[in-house]
């Protein structure tokens, strides 16, 4: 069972080739000297230079980053609260509606979420800009955070919290000193998920942003609508590099924690 059959080798190779070759091609062509994206004219970092001199892109990147940090932080607070209510809140009036509102945004087409939020903002006369994008992103990403955190809370050993309460902690102290450190990895992955969703979102941001706030995806979309552009290839490469480093680092850290935990457990057993 430890060696792969030829069928599995072929399907894994083809599968991962399909997943990665498009991105590799994108990265390779970002170093192409030619303006014509399809003709290879030698290695050059020219498009990176042009990208970094393009003020419109830098502004859009800055707006995107601000929106992502603000909305993912807000979404983490609200989503963790929602998860706590869902798992520990017990019964209260309107619980079914609450859980429906948590799960519905996960499966809602983005065009509908965007349209409905825009109509709300216009209805209450809120000017569209950074604030409205933050509100929109917080709303859908808090649901993702709450799903991630509540799955951790559901497997959490309640007796730990009860022990803290028995030992004289108040509910708030028990949450801060016991519950939060244990669910922290889930809260952090929730934040990361919310952050990425916000960085990535084109449709909802297009509906809820005004002329004063253009995010990076909106900028990319309007640039590539007309066809392939070497500057966008360079930008994509930078983004792919950041994500790759982030994901590899995260997996190394979690692996190291796992190893340390096993060693501690082993030491405790031998103790």
């Amino acid at each position: 069972m430890n060696r792969l059959s030829w069928f599995n080798t072929v399907s894994l190779t083809l599968g991962f080739a399909f997943l990665y070759i498009p991105m590799i091609i994108l990265v390779v062509y970002s170093f192409n000297a030619s303006k014509l994206v399809t003709v290879w004219a030698g290695f050059s970092t020219r498009w990176y230079g042009e990208l970094l001199r393009d003020r419109a892109f830098l502004n859009a990147a800055w707006v995107t980053l601000k929106v992502a940090v603000a909305s993912s932080t807000l979404a983490t607070v609200l989503g963790t609260m929602a998860a706590y209510v869902m798992v520990r809140g017990g019964r209260f009036r309107g619980r079914t509606l609450f859980s429906g509102m948590i799960y519905a945004p996960l499966v809602m087409p983005e065009v509908i979420t965007g349209l409905s939020l825009l109509l709300l903002f216009i209805g209450i006369g809120l000017d569209r800009g950074v604030l409205t994008i933050v509100l929109a992103h917080t709303t859908f990403s808090m649901c993702y955070v709450s799903v991630v955190v509540s799955s951790r809370l559901a497997t959490f050993d309640l007796s730990l919290e009860e022990a803290a309460l028995d030992l004289g902690c108040s509910r708030a102290e028990a949450f801060r000193l016991v519950t939060l450190p244990i669910i922290a990895p889930a809260v952090i992955s929730g934040w990361l998920l919310a952050f990425t969703l916000s960085l990535d979102d084109l449709v909802i941001a297009s509906f809820t942003s005004g002329p004063s706030a253009t995010t990076l995806p909106i900028k990319i979309f309007s640039a590539v609508r007309l066809g392939v552009s070497p500057e966008i290839n360079a930008l994509s490469t930078i983004m792919i590099a950041i994500v790759t480093v982030g994901v590899i680092a995260a997996s190394l850290i979690s692996k190291r924690n796992l190893v340390r935990q096993r060693r501690d457990e082993l030491a405790a057993v031998r103790g």
Binding site: P22, V111, G123
Partner: protein, 296 residues
């Protein structure tokens, strides 16, 4: 008291920014387009008291929904979205199952790395992953150059701006959503069951059909819904990879809103799309609940 605040804050947030906007969409879908700000009538005039509310309700009608059935653009777009979503879900399953199967059969020490390789594209920008195919599929693109060089074709194929490109885009971007639930189901499977089936005289293929596939059924169902539901309302893929003849309802809604500025019709399109989605969403929810109960 503290508990009330804990419940109230996320509750009110979702009410105000999720439920209320839907009520507004529903209301505007029953209104008429007008050249004014906002571009629809009637608007609710609360200062006129009960009379104002009565006038407002009297002016609402289902005209936009009737319009959707009369202009064949809309129902063709709904049907074509359903078809594209269905066909691409089937293709994603055909592409994803062997990968998930291969991962589950891979040596234990490879699996975390393979897992990471499946998840990595998910963290990369969706827009960029769709965009990467534009350079591959275009007339002068990498794929056409490659095929010309091989001598398989003597004229470049027209792939970008057709439905084929949309299928490729959906399969590519949603593949991880198909692989992960199937892999999770296969990973849990007890391998001795297959050995037992083979001992009892099943061929490898029969054992696969009679044992492996039924045991991964829940993963297959979950993966299919995770691809089908977002694909149905997809906007980015048809607008970047599809052509002018690619009809998908997400694109129609976008154009109705941004190009035609007809908010009531755009809202009606959204309401109907939501009604279509209710069926798969409820079925998906039920599948997830059944699975959770089975695990307990």
């Amino acid at each position: 008291m503290r508990r009330v605040i804990l419940i109230a804050v996320p509750y009110l947030w979702l009410l105000a920014l999720f439920l209320v906007p839907f009520v507004i969409v529903l209301k505007i879908s029953l209104s008429d387009a007008a050249i004014s700000i906002p571009p629809y009538t009637p608007t609710l005039d609360l200062s006129a008291g009960w009379q104002g509310i009565r006038d407002f309700l009297a002016a609402l009608d289902f005209e936009n929904f009737v319009w959707l059935t009369q202009d064949d653009l809309y129902w063709k777009a709904y049907l074509s979205s359903l078809w594209i979503a269905l066909a691409s879900t089937a293709m994603t399953l055909l592409a994803g199952y062997p990968i998930a199967y291969g991962m589950a059969r891979a040596p234990e020490e490879w699996r975390p790395t393979l897992m990471m390789l499946v998840i990595l594209p998910f963290w990369t920008s969706f827009l960029i992953r769709v965009y990467s195919w534009m350079g591959i599929l275009s007339q002068e693109g990498v794929l056409n150059q490659f095929l010309l060089w091989l001598g398989v074709i003597d004229r470049p194929l027209m792939i970008l701006n057709t439905n084929t490109a949309v299928y490729i885009g959906i399969v590519y971007t949603y593949l991880p959503f198909m692989i992960l639930p199937i892999y999770a189901a296969l990973d849990r499977m007890d391998n001795s069951l297959i050995e037992a089936a083979e001992d009892l005289g099943c061929s490898r293929l029969t054992a696969f059909w009679l044992v492996t596939v039924p045991l991964s059924k829940n993963g297959i169902i979950a993966g299919c819904f995770l691809v089908f539901i977002p694909a149905l309302g997809e906007f980015v893929i048809p607008s970047l990879l599809g052509g002018s003849r690619t009809l998908m309802i997400g694109k129609v809604l976008w154009e109705e809103f941004f190009s035609n500025r007809d908010w009531p019709v755009a809202s009606a399109v959204a309401v109907v799309l939501l009604l279509i989605l209710v069926v798969p969403i409820v079925l998906f929810q039920r599948n997830q609940e059944r699975q959770q109960e089975a695990e307990k």
